[in-house]
Amino acid sequence: MRSQWPATLFIVLFVFSLSLQAQPAAAPQAADLNAIRAQIDALRADYEKKIQDLQKQLDEVQVQVNRAPASSTSTAVTGGSVSASKVFNPDISVIGDFLGAAGSNKVNPSPALEMHESEVAFQATVDPYARADFFISFGEQGVNLEEGYITFPAVPGGLLVKVGKMRAAFGKVNGLHNHVLPWTDRPLMTQNLIGGEDGIDDTGISIARLIPNRFVFLETTVQAFRGDSGENLFKSSQRGDLNYVGHLRAYRDVTDDTNVDLGFSFSRGHNSSGVVNDIDVGRFMTRLYGGDATIRWKPLQRSVYHSFVGRTEFVWSRRNQPGGVQDAKGYFVSGEYQLGRRWYSGVRYDRAGRADAASTIDLGKSATLSYSPSEFSLIRGQYRRTQYADGPTANEFLFQFQFSIGAHGAHPF
């Protein structure tokens, strides 16, 4: 009620001033004047009391404010020189990914030692309607905008709209950045069928909507990209050569500790097999169909010590190319078990044909062991045996150091 006093005061004063203006029309009489004086005095006393009360409240608030040592505006953590321009700086973090390899691989060799990627992330709220995320990855040679997009989280109709360059929502692994993968590499399926390490990562628009129902979390995503993805996956030579991606995700908590995540994906776009002298004479298309399943177990009360994630993903690539259609298939199955607060172990089985030669099938087996000193660093070793269809079997030991500095990012899920 107290906060309404100023308004009440104003209304009373307003009415009073009007009645004063109206007074000259009537003949002034001594009795009336006295009555008015008395009224004024009463009002004055009333106001004074109210003003005193307000002052008292103000003092109380002042005391409370002084008592709170860290107010909402105290974002200065570097001490001293924080200018207004820094306050609006985005959250910045840098993640380093160092890879080493030992053993032999004659088909797809990677360097003995490599600063594989340094990813810089800038993330902030744009305005009340949007946020922006940039992930720029520096290799040893070049720089690549891995992702850079604006997200409109609250578009009418319950839509989540993203515009910019982004990793496509095709399956699970394609959407993951290198540093959140549970391995040092990407599965053969990604390498052979979904455009290599970068996967489907292109400029376009993404619209995602939840489908309300009582049983599961159901999300459908539709994305349209320019049509240039991967090393050899999609290539657009005309404006109309867009690459479309569709994804349906169903998620359900089985218990508080266990949950299941299923996905179905589709993608189509033009490939480069019909391009002659920069002209797409063949107009060949590639269609990808995918399915993924993830089961997670993490006991809530001991969540920092033990967990298990089982994943599998399947892709069927239908690639039109000179000489006919190649129907290549690939999949992986993997499991990661957290042994303790800092130790993780995992295995993975891979099998994938090649997009342009479906009968050339590569097989892979991997085992990993990771040690994470803190949330911000990780050391991983991976033994990988790859049986290439067209070359000698590779036995390799891969090792990785990952480290992040800067703003605390979200934990991957």
């Binding site: 203006q21 709170a68 709220t125 939840l210 969540s303 920092v304 000193p373 500095i405 979200a410």
Partner: protein, 313 residues
């Protein structure tokens, strides 16, 4: 004539305001989602049956490491108000949930986004340079501030203000409930302070830095941590140092949050003769702490029992 016209005008405005507020009053119950069971408990105290409350992290779960499950997105999608602990406690999981909620009411800065820490008394706000050489430090101060009943009252007032902002017609109801809650907390504080008065300055060790506000309010002296640094699991050297320090200082109590492994604390207990207590820092941390006031009742009872047992006083 002037007067009548202005009066009519004013009456119209008042009538319009009245109509507006009646429609507001006829709206459905407010959906409130709190990130922890503590905030949910306080919100229930203030909102009563005029709100529908839901929470995300369980009280027996480490609130730093909650998974951003899509099922939480569904909770947030329907929320009118999201109450969070703030001070970066939820930084690892809440931001992506908010972005994916498709709910404009609870986006950062919106009326339905309530950071409960803004008026509370926050301890351990770092001065000078902050680096992760000190572990997973919270640059905005220790986020476990709800463990002081004084802060509980401040949080309740903040929730009250926000509820009134969104449901002005229910003001009297919320005010009554807020006053009732505050008076019960006040009564509790008298009881708790009296319980702890004879043991002022008792030295304790805690696993994580979850109890600074609790210790300050009830006169405990925290002399060390099982974790060498926040978020860093115990190391043998640190554990040895801690055991030596506890022997030297005569520390007989180790407080462990329910989500940490008891192996190291038990070893410390065996070496030093200290009592190891699994003490919930949150509502829902065990069966005895179903609400905010019982949290202090239970924790302080446990503490006093342990002090008496170890000191024989």
């Amino acid at each position: 004539m002037k007067i009548t016209k202005s009066f009519i005008g004013m009456m119209l405005v008042l009538a319009a305001m009245l109509m507006f507020s009646t429609t507001a009053g006829a709206q459905a119950k407010l959906n409130v989602v709190a990130t922890t069971e503590d905030l949910a408990s306080i919100a229930t105290e203030v909102g009563g049956d005029h709100i529908v409350i839901d929470s995300i992290a369980k009280g027996y779960q480490d609130p730093h490491f909650v998974e951003a499950k899509p099922s939480f997105i569904l909770k947030l999608q329907k929320a009118d108000i999201l109450i969070l602990v703030g001070r970066e406690l939820e930084i690892g999981w809440l931001p992506p949930l908010i972005t994916q909620s498709r709910n404009s009411k609870i986006q950062v800065g919106a009326d339905g986004y309530l950071d409960a820490s803004l008026q509370a008394q926050i301890l351990e706000v770092p001065n000078g340079q902050v680096t992760r050489a000190e572990g997973d430090v919270h640059p905005l101060g220790n986020p476990h501030y709800w463990m002081d009943p004084e802060n509980g009252k401040i949080i309740a007032k903040e929730i009250f203000d926000r509820l009134v902002k969104l449901r002005p017609n229910d003001r009297a109801y919320f005010e009554m409930r807020l006053n009732d809650f505050v008076s019960r907390v006040n009564a509790g504080e008298k009881r708790w302070t009296a319980m702890m008065a004879p043991y002022k300055g008792t030295k304790v060790v805690t696993y994580h830095r979850s109890f600074p506000n609790f210790a300050e309010r009830f006169g405990l002296n925290i002399v060390g941590y099982v974790e060498p640094k926040p978020g860093i699991p115990p190391t043998p050297q640190h554990t040895l140092d801690l055991i030596n320090q506890m022997k030297k200082d005569g520390v007989k109590l180790v407080m462990v949050e329910p989500y940490f492994d008891l192996k190291t604390p038990n070893a410390i207990g065996r070496e030093t003769g200290a009592e190891v207590m699994v003490m919930p820092p949150s509502v829902g941390g065990n069966k005895d702490v179903p609400d905010y006031i019982k949290l202090f009742d239970s924790d302080l009872n446990m503490l006093v029992t342990a002090i008496r047992k170890t000191t024989g006083k």
